[in-house]
Symmetry: C2
Subunit: 130 residues, 2 copies
């Protein structure tokens, strides 16, 4: 993409209305050719996975809440070893999963999210794509 | 920031509720130490300005609409020279102003937005900060 290419605006609700499969994101924008903005509908438990080379930002657009399981890195909290916690994300919440941190998105009720990470990164990180 | 630092979630509506000055963004997140997420309340006409080294992404959270004046780069559309247009952004709309493209946010009604660009970039780009 040339730096002077002006693309049309994108309505995220409109793109979301075309998504019928959970955990199958659609790309909506690219920033500086390197950062990808996606929208996705999540429901049910995703797999535990890690993105080794990019942070992954979540922003809850509607529905939910989104329960984000997190395994704290070994040694990151003194003597604790890989403690697990769940961050509960409601509409309007933003949360960054740092690179290298194992996580598992879970949603009892369908939740629509914006997901931002390095362009080209697989949704399942270090796990084989389903 | 270490790659294993897990920061708390951030409620964008809560941050927005603390903003009392238009066109004074607050930083909410950082992705890969290089990309900054901000929220801002806009009302009235901002100045025409350009970000020479970063695209700037806008996402409308509430209020608005946001009118984004754009000056198309000279020569980008055949014989047209710097044609001006206004992109009207409603809640849920996302729009990327490419680097190097002159633009002017305008809002008759207050609009709350998420703005994403390279970390450290001035809100006014090539213009002196107000």
């Amino acid at each position: 993409m040339s730096s002077s290419t002006i693309l049309p605006k994108i309505s995220l609700p409109t793109i979301l209305s075309t998504i019928t499969t959970h955990y199958k994101p659609k790309m909506v924008s690219l920033l500086n050719d390197t950062v990808e903005f996606r929208v996705s509908k999540l429901k049910g438990d995703f797999i535990w996975h890690t993105h080794e080379s990019t942070d992954e930002l979540f922003y809850v657009i509607s529905g939910g809440p989104l329960h984000m399981g997190i395994r704290h890195p070994v040694g990151s909290e003194g003597s604790e070893v890989g403690r697990e916690e769940t961050v509960v994300l409601e509409v309007g919440d933003m949360f960054v999963v740092p690179k290298g941190v194992q996580h598992q998105p879970r949603a009892e009720n369908e939740v629509s999210v914006m997901v931002v990470e390095t362009a080209g990164e697989s949704t399942t990180g270090n796990q084989v794509d389903r």
